[in-house]
Amino acid sequence: MTSTLTDRYVAAVLRTVPGTRRPDIERELRASVADAVDDLVAAEHDPQDAEIRALSALGDPVRLAAQYTDRPLYLIGPGLYLDYVRVVGVLLATVAPLLAVGVGILRHLDGAGPGDVLTSAALGACAGGIVVVGWVTLAFVVAERSPGLRARRARPWSPASLPQLPGTRVDVPELLGGLAFLVLGTCLLVVFQVFSPVRDAGGDPVGVLQPALWDSGAPVLVLLFALARTAFDVVGYTVGWTTAHAVANTVLSVLFVPAVVWLVLTGRLLNDEFFRIVGWPHATAVPGVLTSVLVVLVVLVGARDTVDGFRRARRTSRRHRSEPLPPPSTRRSTSTGEMS
């Protein structure tokens, strides 16, 4: 009866110890426990009580086994933790907006209403975020337990990799300007479409966009794109713009630009009636002045945005590399130059 507890304890320790080391550890552990029990019994303890005391002093068997085998008792240790947080941050900031847009488009193509599209987009982004965090965590847990992978990690930290002070990354005016433009633009578009001063014969307002397009809920998709773009900008402002952001940003442009161009070229974007009433009946013709200007404008904005993303990423990574910080005066002039 007295041996059961010790047997169970030893078995629990050995369960997580490699087979080759088991016999040796078992013999020594049993001898140590027996010695402790003997001592306690000699000090006039009841044998059963002595065994309980001896085992209690050794503590949780799994913890003891971990110490025997040098196994870490944490998922991600201090050596990798900061890298882990950075990777999760960058991936979340890029994957979640892309997923929101992607899911939104799919739901829209399924014929869902605006509310449904927005909800699905938000849920898609959340689900994607959870999956991303899960996989990155798993990868880092594996790396933590692979000495080879841990040894290969990262060059030592240097002051050159210090993040810029706020205002020199994505510039504050650029960030606020982008947000203001977005809000104003959306309001103007909605107000103009719904309360347009241009009236038809019956006195109803005639918007500049095709009513069919408006009713289809496509503006919700535009809103999604705008929100994703804003998310990128805010993240770029707070943690710095990375290549991952630039790639995600490009994906957004690739999704957005051809779609708008297609709408313009097939006459699905602009409302013919609107232009007829304002006295420019052939404005929506393809090829035509207005449609050509629109297409060129959209393509240019998309291209500029894409190039801009990569330029920002390169600027960030250049700062992260070893070059010493330039003296304050030259730095000021460079950052002004970069703002253009």
Partner: protein, 111 residues
């Protein structure tokens, strides 16, 4: 009044590492885990059993201790003994300890 938790944390930090030196010194004469545990406790260097036993194996793996099973007694025991490398390390650690002690003495005189 210092908080008990704070106090014990600081004491623990200061004592960390002394177990290695004490074990290397004590095991110049062969000894087994439980006997070493008791002896450390008697000399005022008390350490937990679940710290000491894995530590002995780690030191053995690093070549600082050698081990041998003694089957003469009814209860077979693993006897550890400080190796030549272990003795050298003990000497280095002891000198370090003495240097630290001198440094603290200087600090106190200076104030």
């Amino acid at each position: 009044m210092i908080d008990d938790d704070v106090l014990s944390t600081h004491l623990q930090e200061l004592r960390r590492g002394t177990v290695v030196l004490a074990s290397l010194l004590l095991l110049r004469r062969p000894g087994y885990g439980y006997a070493l545990l008791e002896e450390l406790a008697r000399t005022g260097l008390a350490v937990d059993a679940n710290t000491l036993y894995p530590l002995l194996r780690r030191l053995e793996k690093q070549g600082l201790l050698t081990s041998e099973w003694s089957t003469d007694e009814p209860r077979p025991r693993k006897f550890y003994r400080t190796s030549v490398d272990g003795a050298a390390l003990a000497e280095t650690l002891r000198r370090e300890w003495a240097d630290l002690s001198t440094a603290f003495a200087t600090l106190e005189d200076g104030s």
